[in-house]
């Protein structure tokens, strides 16, 4: 009782505010905030003063100046006359490209390997555990450098690996034929998006119906049919336009078609293989966290093992899998910066060049940090929303 009185609110001993717990609580917070702001201000002004003293240029004016250097691969038209700002956008888009493909492929690879690890198939389980143990114990930068060396030492363009018409694989990358642009493809794209939404709604409707009535309905094949069928029909209706833009060999290299450069492939394979091993372990842990009784009960009901995995194990495993997988996605996105080691023109690569041509290190590093922060926060928000869907709802 005496203890409790010590921490009571309100004025004590002559009514000094100093002894009020509530007042102190607020005061400490204000002091802390002030301290943080002061330190921040000190750092900022100190950097500014030092840069000025050494007569190093400051500010973000350089973003509008002409960059003057070229970038090997770009998702948007870019020319050396364009600004540093646009060059950085090219870098950001390249970072996003490799990160998005990386996240999707690492999830597929990791999910597959994770399920294989707990498989009752001895060979599959052993191979999967070998994959995990080898890949996750090699530093990711070595993965990237290793794959870069592999893809750069393929035969030259003239001796390309050429399995079939329109596909060439050589030390300049993977070069393949693509359909020439046609206005009809816009509608095909729209049809694909509509199909995607329709398939999603169909699967949700089928799940709801199953939960309500217990009646099972196959969803995978019909959903796939909607997703592929709709664009296909749209394409056919418009007269099935198709002209291939085929790669042809010029003086030095192929022109035409689309190219995945060795740097892009090496970076993608490197970070996917590495992150996939961690995701595999997370998936395995998730699956094993589901009480055996659940699976035994499902089996005793006569459900096939694929069914058990799809409807009993995975939904319960997901709530264990999702949070740590978010961390893996974040580290994958950040590891894409290793492209700088092998010459993939992602953000760090372009920002490094910018930093060096303009000498504005503080600004360039600041931009890099901001972009990675925003990217990571976006991934976090999306994954947290998804996580909210997968957590167990207490009823």
């Amino acid at each position: 009782m005496a203890q409790a009185e010590t921490f009571q609110d309100g004025p004590r001993r002559g009514g000094s505010l100093l002894y009020s717990t509530a007042f102190r609580g607020v005061a400490y917070q204000i002091l802390l905030a002030a301290g943080v702001i002061l330190v921040g201000y000190f750092l900022y002004s100190n950097v500014n003063q030092n840069l000025e003293r050494q007569s190093i240029a400051t500010g973000f004016r350089f973003l509008t100046e002409s960059a003057g250097f070229d970038i090997g691969e770009s998702l948007i038209p870019y020319d050396s006359n364009d600004s540093y700002g646009k060059a950085l956008v090219v870098g950001i888009l390249n970072t996003l490209l490799v990160s998005v493909f990386g996240v999707v492929l690492a999830t597929i690879l990791g999910g597959f390997m994770g399920i294989a690890r707990v498989s009752r198939n001895w060979l599959a389980a052993k191979l999967a555990s070998m994959y995990v143990e080898v890949m996750r114990n090699i530093p990711v930068v070595l993965h990237v450098i290793f794959w870069a060396a592999v893809f750069r030492n393929l035969p030259g363009p003239k001796e390309s690996i050429h399995p079939f018409e329109g596909l060439y694989f050589n030390n300049r990358g993977l070069i393949f034929a693509v359909p020439k642009a046609n206005p009809a493809y816009v509608w095909v794209g729209v049809a694909f998006l509509v199909g995607l939404v329709a398939a999603f709604l169909f699967v949700r409707w089928a799940d709801r119906r199953r939960e309500r009535t217990g009646k099972f309905m196959p969803t995978f094949w019909p959903a796939l049919a909607i997703m592929i069928g709709l664009p296909l029909v749209t394409w056919l209706v418009q007269g099935a336009p198709l002209v291939w833009d085929k790669p042809t060999f010029g003086a030095f290299n192929f022109s035409g078609g689309a190219v995945l450069t060795p740097e892009f492939i090496a970076l993608l394979v490197g970070i996917v293989v590495y992150t996939g091993a961690f995701i595999a372990e997370i998936v395995r842990a998730g699956i094993q966290s589901v009480p055996r009784g659940q699976i035994e009960a499902a089996r005793s009901l006569g459900l096939r093992s694929g069914f058990v995995m799809r409807y009993v194990t995975l939904p319960q495993a997901l709530r264990v899998i999702v949070p740590p997988t978010t961390s893996q996605y974040l580290s994958l996105a950040k590891n894409s910066s290793l492209g700088v080691f092998i010459g993939y023109p992602e953000l760090v690569n372009v920002a490094n060049t910018t930093l060096n041509q303009t000498g504005q290190a503080v600004e360039a590093v600041g931009i890099m940090m901001t972009v990675y922060l925003l990217m990571s926060l976006t991934i976090s928000i999306i994954m947290n929303l998804y996580n909210r869907k997968t957590i167990i709802r207490e009823r």
């Binding site: 002091l31 050396s80 030095f252 290299n253 080691f341």
Partner: protein, 345 residues
Amino acid sequence: MKALRRSGWLAVAASVAFLSTPAVAADGPMVTKIKQRGELACGVHTGRYGFAVADSQGKWIGLDVDFCKAVAAAILGDANKVKYVPMSAVQRFPALQSGEIDVLSRTTTVTLTRDVSLGLHFGPTTFYTGTGFMVRKTTKATKLEQLAGATVCVVPGSTTEKNIAALFKARKIKYTPVVIESQKAMVGAYFSGRCDVMSMDHAGLPGHRRFDAKNPDEHFIFEEVYSKEPLAMAIRQGDDQFYDIIKWVTHVTFNAEEYDVHQANVDEVLKTTTNPDVQRMLGKIGGLGKKLGLDDQWGYRIIKQVGSYKDIYDRNFGEKSPLKLPRGLNKQWTQGGLLYGYPIK
């Protein structure tokens, strides 16, 4: 509660301490700093034959290295008191700006932006070169105009990177750059066939062909030099004395060659010369060293320990080296070159 209160006050005290500490005051004269440390921190290339490369015993050799040595000989009296800090093109300027190195002697081209925006001072040009291109002989290309559609390997943060963009644009031909920061990885990418062309300073190419190619005869270096690349030592702005030393150390090497004073004959010349200009340079007539804040033997030491520009060039690029590169513009002005030593008076 007491502990909490104390830590709260500590935070305030710390903030006040931070606030009241001004931005780091201007460096004392660099010479004092270097003398106290007993060695010169010199930023050099990670490995470019002729300019800076660690030999089989791990000793740094090259033209850029020799100029580091000349500065150390002038200030510290010993050409070997140099700490070499190898750095990539991207690392070099931040390293100099932050004070990690005293001098940057690393195949660095003088440009307006670098001089002004980066807060640097450049010494006199120590080497004149320009953008060069190397291709495989199988391409049969001999000049830039034949490189349409080629893939070009280059390091980032170099003037070369910007030069090739401008050169190809001016000729309205397309190319694909592959930009790799590590010099070694970039050169490796060219030799593995990832690129059709490797581009860097013209004078850097023969070394890579000689030492890195499996068969040097398979590669061709374009005769033409495609840009102006005056390479020079760089220092931070803000120390005029140090800037003067960098400037005049370089001019001593030029003048030494002009007056035919070399590493091998400097002692003899010192005894026999009657030319007052040479006597001033070697400290026989005193007073000049003091004006720089050095002693009178500074010029003698540079020549005795490192050599004249001829010694330096011959050792690293000339007939005595594996590169055997003609001197081109790097000849004395008396022989049609651009080396013009200012009067040491």
